[in-house]
């Protein structure tokens, strides 16, 4: 659930088995570069969005880790935009 809902934010917005094998691996003590998968998912999401914007199409619900992009933009722009990161 954590991977699906909170990390990769699946577009189904409900339970799926998509990340179950990854979860089994983590729960069983296996290690893999989850951070790289997350960054790949960020690039893929932004690629899809850019493509749709270029064509003037609605973005719709693509799923994907908007939360990470939100956090990254906030961190990188907090001075210019006057955000208090610790509020």
């Amino acid at each position: 659930m954590w991977l699906d809902k909170f990390v990769f934010c699946g577009r189904s917005v409900g339970p799926t088995s998509v990340y179950l094998s990854a979860t089994e691996k983590l729960a069983g003590g296996g290690r893999f570069p989850l951070g790289r998968y997350l960054l790949g998912s960020v690039y893929h999401l932004l690629h899809q969005v850019a493509e749709k914007l270029l064509l003037g199409q609605p973005i719709d619900n693509l799923g994907g880790p908007w939360w990470f992009i939100n956090m990254w933009l906030s961190v990188h722009m907090h001075k210019r935009l006057g955000f208090d990161l610790f509020a």
């Binding site: 659930m1 954590w2 809902k5 909170f6 990390v7 934010c9 699946g10 577009r11 917005v13 409900g14 339970p15 799926t16 088995s17 998509v18 179950l20 094998s21 990854a22 979860t23 089994e24 691996k25 069983g28 003590g29 296996g30 290690r31 893999f32 570069p33 989850l34 951070g35 790289r36 960054l39 960020v42 690039y43 932004l46 690629h47 969005v49 850019a50 493509e51 914007l53 270029l54 064509l55 003037g56 199409q57 609605p58 973005i59 719709d60 619900n61 693509l62 799923g63 994907g64 908007w66 939360w67 990470f68 992009i69 939100n70 956090m71 990254w72 933009l73 906030s74 722009m77 935009l81």
Partner: protein, 183 residues
């Protein structure tokens, strides 16, 4: 790459001019901001998958976390799990505005002050997730060993209810791992 007369096309060929300015300029002219399709109607349904707070999640997460803190730390998951129980403020305007500056050729936002892109170092700093381990898992090609019920279960709240309730019915020894996997 050899720039040619057509403004948005480049030819592959022997490199004669190492100055990438023309290429960069051509790509910058391809970002969505230049296309000018500005309408909030395009963004109506976009953030539906934003992780909203779900009844029971925080308690479940904290309870399992009590007994798994060390393992989560070893697997570099702890920082990111803590993020999931924090109520992160969503800044839709910022996300929408920034998206218009994304170049899918550079994998970067092309802002007025220069390109900026999330990197693996950013992922590590912000989430603490593992980035260095070799990836030999073929993660999304492999079949899970367990089955988790996902259909007609009442969304995430129903899922939490089911897998929290059933934890005592699992056989001793596998009970904890099964609940951990479901979570």
């Amino acid at each position: 790459m050899i720039p040619i007369d057509q403004p948005h096309f480049q030819c592959l060929g022997p490199l004669e001019n190492p100055d990438p300015t023309d290429l960069i300029n051509a790509e910058i002219n391809r970002i969505p901001f230049r296309a000018g399709n500005f309408s909030l109607d395009l963004w109506k349904d976009t953030f539906r998958s934003w992780p909203s707070s779900t009844k029971g999640w925080k308690d479940w997460s904290l309870r399992i976390g009590d007994s798994n803190e060390i393992q989560w730390g070893e697997r570099k998951l702890d920082q990111c799990i803590r993020l999931s129980i924090a109520d992160m403020e969503r800044n839709k305007s910022l996300l929408i505005a920034a998206s218009y500056f994304w170049s899918d050729t550079f994998n970067a936002f092309v802002f007025g002050h220069g390109p900026a892109s999330p990197t693996l170092a950013d992922v590590l700093m912000l989430t603490g997730l593992e980035i260095a381990t070799a990836d030999d898992s073929h993660l999304f090609d492999s079949k899970p060993e367990r089955k988790v019920e996902t259909r007609n279960i009442g969304g995430w709240s129903g899922y939490i209810q089911k897998y929290r309730k059933n934890r005592t019915r699992w056989a001793k020894g596998t009970r904890h791992l099964s609940e951990h996997v479901a979570r």
